[in-house]
């Protein structure tokens, strides 16, 4: 019952961001897909192929029709991560409600778990569901000229996981007692490194491994800082 009360409270606090992210992605991502379909790509004639010519190797590359949708997913995921991290870990500091929150008849760790759980659910519900919807729509037989690769679906989840990693970095920055001009922003810099490393992977398993290891590094520090922090 106590945990539920905490969950409800956290969910209620994060709800506006959850909804904004879901609606924004649905509209922008869906619109991007719609525009791609209407543009007729890739069945527009590429004028750089002419008889007897050597074809530049990069002209054969093709982005999937969901590429612009993917860009929107990435940015909205990052923004959602920042927003949730700020809401859950910066705002209580500025509004001085940590004291009220911590003095609950419940374990400190449970308070933290409620926040993390709600954030995870937020990503899964708001972005994950919409991504599932968009991918399903794109996979319908007569929507796109050809079906999207199954791998794209997993890549979408990796982009969503990047947003969650940003959330963890923001959370750690919020909990850190360091000053802004010193190491307070280092968790966010570390998140940048994780994202840069993930983006350069071509194997899905390696990408997941990088994200998981990076997230675990951040998570361990979040737990330790939360349990030992002064409020």
């Amino acid at each position: 019952m106590r945990f539920l009360a905490l969950l409800k409270k956290e969910l209620r606090e994060c709800l506006p961001w959850l909804l904004i992210a879901a609606i924004a992605f649905l509209v922008l991502g869906g619109l991007a897909l719609r525009l791609m379909i209407q543009s007729g790509a890739p069945f527009r004639y590429p004028y750089h192929f002419s008889p007897g010519s050597t074809v530049n190797r990069y002209l054969l590359r093709a982005s999937p029709l969901l590429s612009t949708t993917g860009v929107w997913l990435f940015f909205i995921s990052i923004v959602l991560g920042l927003a949730l991290g700020i809401r859950q870990f910066f705002i209580p500091h500025f509004s001085r409600t940590w004291g009220f929150t911590i003095h609950r008849s419940i374990n400190k760790l449970t308070i933290l778990c409620a926040k993390l759980f709600v954030a995870a659910i937020a990503f899964i519900i708001s972005l994950g569901t919409v991504w599932l919807l968009i991918y399903w729509y794109a996979s319908l037989p007569e929507i796109l000229p050809f079906l999207p690769e199954p791998r794209l679906f997993i890549e979408g989840w990796i982009l969503i996981a990047m947003g969650f990693t940003v959330y963890l970095g923001t959370a750690l920055a919020g909990l850190s007692k360091a000053r802004w001009y010193t190491t307070k922003v280092f968790p966010l810099a570390f998140v940048l490194v994780i994202i840069a490393t993930t983006v350069s992977q071509w194997k899905l398993s390696t990408a997941f491994a990088v994200m998981i290891i990076g997230s675990l590094i951040l998570l361990s520090q979040i737990i330790h800082t939360f349990l030992n922090r002064e409020f």
Binding site: A5, E13, R96, T97, G99, F100, H103, R104
Partner: protein, 307 residues
């Protein structure tokens, strides 16, 4: 032997290189209403936060209801009510949702009727959001939230800060309600000595992180005295009276702040010092506190000149 609900042993806290709390030893028995007073930056909030485990001590320890403050279990926290300084609550919640939230943590202890009565008494609409309440109204909600679970120990950090006189009176009456229930202990910090005087039976005075007084209110009231003496000539240079805290001199007058000195001894000294007149000035608790915590050679900021 009376059970101790709140105790500290050598509790010390440094913020950087600044000593905020210096070796605080305290024992508050059950059923006591203890006023914790001190000037700004004396260390009151620091002490309270250390007791509740919100801060880590540099040295020493504290125990609440027999449990180490750094490891307060959920069961112990359930028995402690806490009113934070400034009454910061979740501004997006309404009073009703805040009640629901708080109730979830006290499933067996929560007194629905008491909370509703308190809210009615303070004339607060339950569906109003916290962010739309005034500071005083938030303080009332805060108190109601803290009292409704029937806590054994109520810890309040400057609960009447920023409240007007009427609201403060209501707040104190709410507190008295709780006090009237047996076995309840209240530990609160305040700047308003009048409030402390109204409700407390024990006073703890802290000054620059050091406990200066830890006694019953009566003992404090009796101990701190201001004596005004008039002389025909210059007052004596040497003041060898027992219990002298500090003094103020003018041409032919002397003002002494004495701690724990008998009236009889004051009279004897006045006679021996050849004072032509002396009087023991009646002080309220506020005046006593100011004099007790005034630094040595303290000068008044404003000197009124008589025309």
């Amino acid at each position: 032997m009376t059970e101790t609900v709140l105790e500290t042993y050598g509790l010390t806290k440094y913020y950087g290189g600044t000593l905020a709390l210096d070796n605080m030893d305290l024992k508050i028995p059950r059923g006591c209403i203890c006023g914790f007073v001190g000037r700004n930056a004396a260390g009151k909030t620091t002490a309270i936060k250390l007791m509740l485990g919100l801060l880590k001590p540099t040295a020493g320890s504290a125990k609440l209801l027999g449990c180490d403050s750094q490891n307060l279990t959920p069961a112990i926290r359930q028995r402690i009510g806490y009113v934070t300084e400034g009454h910061h609550l979740f501004h997006w919640m309404s009073i009703a949702s805040l009640e629901k939230f708080q109730r979830a943590f006290f499933p067996k202890q929560w007194d629905d009727r008491f909370f509703s009565e308190m809210i009615e008494y303070f004339e607060l609409p339950k569906n109003k959001k916290i962010k739309h309440l005034s500071h005083g109204q938030r303080a009332q909600v805060s108190l109601a939230l803290a009292l409704a679970p029937n806590p054994e120990l109520l810890v309040m950090d400057d609960p009447t800060l920023g409240l007007d006189t009427a609201i403060r009176r209501q707040f104190l009456e709410g507190m008295i309600q709780l006090i009237m229930q047996q076995g309840r202990t209240v530990f609160f910090s305040s700047h308003i000595l009048g409030d402390v005087e109204r409700v407390s039976d024990r006073i703890v005075v802290i000054d620059k992180g050091v406990i200066r007084a830890d006694c019953s209110l009566e003992q404090f009231r009796e101990a701190v005295k201001k004596v005004k003496l008039s002389f025909s000539d210059c007052p004596p240079a040497q003041l060898d009276i027992e219990g002298l805290l500090h003094c103020r001199r003018s041409e032919k007058e002397l003002e002494l702040i004495l701690i724990g000195t008998d009236d009889e001894k004051i009279k004897q000294w006045a006679d021996s010092a050849a004072a032509i007149k002396y009087s023991i000035v009646k002080m309220n608790l506020e005046d006593q506190f100011i004099e007790f915590t005034a630094p040595p050679n303290h000068k008044k900021l404003f000197q009124w000149e008589k025309n």
